[in-house]
Symmetry: C2
Subunit: 490 residues, 2 copies
């Protein structure tokens, strides 16, 4: 397979697919809309998962695991939820195959039909709240702070690697509380965890906000989200945190006795991020030569490549590299020494650029004499000659600098692509430029739908702590108290 | 719910269920045969998973993720495999639900029928080898050493929490090699990884061996296994490692060009362990008071419980405990301080016994004056007064001792329950005693089936490095070269 990547300029969607496939992150599968996550892509996801898991545990959550299958009737119990999720899903109707006497192949055994169909979970509120019913009796059982890492299935019509796949991996937190305020606090806390993770680990700036009614999670009272901006000017929802009120507690009859011995329904939240984050990461930072990975989540942070003409030179380089590797590891730097002699240095340079390894160190025979190595950083492509003395410390500092630089670059881009629109003409022009457009809106679903129809833009969020200012709806000119953020989105 | 546990003597199966449910490891779910893994049970599984994952990575494996669904036709491609797996499985036939105008509920949309049914993976050889076809062209692409952590579904008729559930969590390694020998070496390597994990981490002695044809994995040339012995005298298969020969490569046409530029089919292995290990762990060590957990995989290794009469005493104890906690954590000991004043010390003692926490430390007001604490170990129930000086080191040594003691106890039990039988009468009597019975066998599937019919015992394995000795088959009296291990099994 050619390693050449379509440029962003030429075809942004193809550029994205090229990176996913050619950097070895994922592959198409034989199953419609499902992907194979390849080892390099999975290592990236593992790093993201491990860090998030740590943050969840630090905020008092425990992991558990609930069934993959949901009885069909469960989905009907919460009215809004069923509208949002029951429609496009994988339905298990039978539990046995049999040999086909005619074809010699195998066919579904018609006698093994389930009494009630099972749905492959598109999200787990229903099965979890059906379980919580038996776990929660009293205020002493609350709060219940549980997270699950799982696969889910939504039968999407149009799929894209990582961004929208029929099956995807995610985590879903499901918490139960004694009061509305406590549940709201939890919702906001987890939104903040997501924002911190996106900004500090993925180097991806996000806007925290609340969704309009149209974009709300099916079954939620309020959906909070973090919204990121991709390089093509489209927004991407990177995580959501829902305040579910008492909706699921009522649907599944989950009541508790409070301290005053009164019976009340439990308050709920749910929150999730998925392998979609890998797609966001790619589109936030990468360039026409391939991936650019923030050091804090890169599977390999530093690659060392020997340059030599004969075995004697190679041996000397090996000895020196061995020492560096120890220094690097002592500082917690993930380093790889690629001395595979099947590939030439030039090939390796291109390969690790494609894979987004933050720092490349080339070390040749002459470098040994001069006590230097050549250090190339992936983000800016700068190459400098660096002393071997204190190399590990130099690289440690450099990795932090790269992390910061990638974030700053993305933040500048994002900040330069938030524009205020005050007339419909401005609004349309600005949407065409890409980025977020801050505009007044009359607050109705009807207007939002109309705007979406006309421009393909949706309200990404109403930012938290939004500035209050009087204005007129961009479409209807009805009065408005604040601007909301519109964008075309993934 | 009463915390009382049925004794093993009275009803072993009920004892097992009581422990799973009352120690908070798992719960039944609304979906037939599927369980909910509760936080404490999941923490145990996480510890097991993390250690295994580390061992897989140390032996050069990488994680990846393949689709949950397998096209029905894939299962038919490997003849033996389809016989073993295609029969009892969850079949997805539709991808949409719709509102039912009559009932107001939701029903399957008959127009959304899949052209080809999808099977929820019972194991992933077929989807993975279909993918490997596109990944492997040359010997340079080999070996391919991949593992996946996933959920799988097998439509079991009789299920038991952890031991046999319709959906379960597991890991499945799938490797591809250029030569048969390399694949066999990998199969044995992973068997050894499993055995090391079982013995050193789970404190559960196992016998390594190879399966007879009857018990071989569907599609394997050879199935290796580790077999453990439970306290009721029944054997439990705790992990399997399969040499698949070229069976799946041929079924999915996966060929590679070797160094001499010749085309050949790829050699394969697969290997797996599952949440069944949690069931094995429970049955290997626990007693009539609850779980007994080996310290190396216990979610909590030490619990500290304050005993006080008033706030002043409590405050003094808190201060002291705070210092101990720091010492413990510095030594990597997982410690919990339970000062919840909703429950009395006696209640807590019973609770942590039930949950199998290896060490309990009670600390009272008088203890502060005497510079001692009361240390109780879960495995032997011994209680001793221990000096506060160097407490963390004392506990560190104690935890190692407990780990060893649990293993030794299980090993003694196992070793005392391997018996040689030379006549049919002996054979039947020994099977009734429980444990492994080493007996001669004529090597035929027919005889093994007949023995199973008569006694419910199966050949658990032919041990590796088995002693060769001439004898006569226990049933048919035909000549035999070695004894094999029979047992009744989970």
């Amino acid at each position: 397979m050619s390693k050449e990547i379509t440029t962003r300029e030429k075809d942004y969607a193809q550029w994205y697919n090229d990176i996913v496939l050619k950097a070895g992150l994922a592959d198409y599968s034989a199953v419609r809309g499902c992907m194979v996550i390849k080892p390099y892509g999975f290592a990236l996801w593992e790093n993201m998962r491990d860090q998030l898991d740590k943050m969840f545990k630090e905020t008092g959550h425990q992991n558990a695991y609930f069934p993959l299958f949901i009885p069909k009737s469960f989905l009907s119990k919460e009215a809004a939820h069923v509208e949002g999720f029951a429609k496009e899903c994988a339905v298990v109707t039978h539990y046995r195959l049999m040999n086909d006497p005619d074809s010699g192949g195998i066919v579904v055994d018609p006698t093994a039909k389930l009494e009630e169909e099972l749905i492959v979970r598109p999200t787990s509120e229903t099965i979890i709240w059906n379980t919580y019913k038996t776990w929660i009796q009293s205020y002493r059982d609350l709060p219940l702070l549980i997270n699950q890492w799982a696969n889910v299935v939504r039968w999407e019509m149009r799929t894209r690697l990582f961004l929208r796949t029929t099956e995807f991996l995610w985590q879903e937190g499901h918490t139960a509380h004694a009061t509305a305020q406590e549940a709201i606090d939890e919702t906001i806390q987890m939104l903040n965890v997501y924002a911190t993770f996106a900004e500090e680990w993925m180097a991806m700036p996000v806007i925290k906000g609340v969704k309009s009614e149209n974009e709300r999670f099916a079954g939620a009272v309020d959906t909070y989200c973090i919204e990121a901006l991709m390089q093509d000017g489209k927004a991407l929802q990177a995580g959501t945190s829902h305040f579910l009120g008492q909706n699921f507690a009522k649907a599944f009859d989950v009541q508790f006795t409070d301290k005053e011995n009164k019976l009340d329904y439990v308050w709920a939240t749910s929150w999730g991020v998925s392998t979609r984050l890998v797609g966001a990461l790619i589109m936030a930072h990468s360039d026409d030569d391939g991936l650019i990975l923030p050091p804090k989540i890169a599977p390999v942070q530093v690659v060392m490549i020997p340059i030599y003409k004969n075995d004697e030179q190679k041996k000397l380089i090996d000895e020196k590299v061995k020492l560096f590797m120890e220094d690097f590891k002592a500082l917690g730097i993930k380093v790889k020494y690629d001395d595979d002699d099947n590939n030439r240095p030039g090939w390796k340079f291109a390969e690790y650029e494609l894979k987004g390894v933050p720092v490349r160190i080339a070390i040749g025979a002459r470098d040994l004499q001069n006590n230097v190595v050549e250090v190339a950083r992936r983000d800016t492509k700068e190459k400098v000659s660096v002393s071997m003395d204190g190399l590990a410390n130099t690289i440690f500092v450099l990795l932090n600098d790269i992390q910061k630089n990638i974030y700053d670059k993305a933040k500048n881009f994002r900040d330069n692509n938030i524009r205020n629109a005050d007339t419909w003409q401005e609004f349309e022009q600005m949407l065409d430029k890409g980025g977020f457009v801050a505009a007044h809106w009359d607050g109705t679903a009807e207007t939002e739908n109309k705007i979406k129809e006309l421009t393909k833009a949706t309200i990404r969020c109403i930012p938290l702590n939004n500035k209050q200012e009087n204005g007129k709806c961009i479409l209807t000119k009805k009065p408005s108290k604040e601007r909301v953020l519109f964008a075309r989105a993934y």
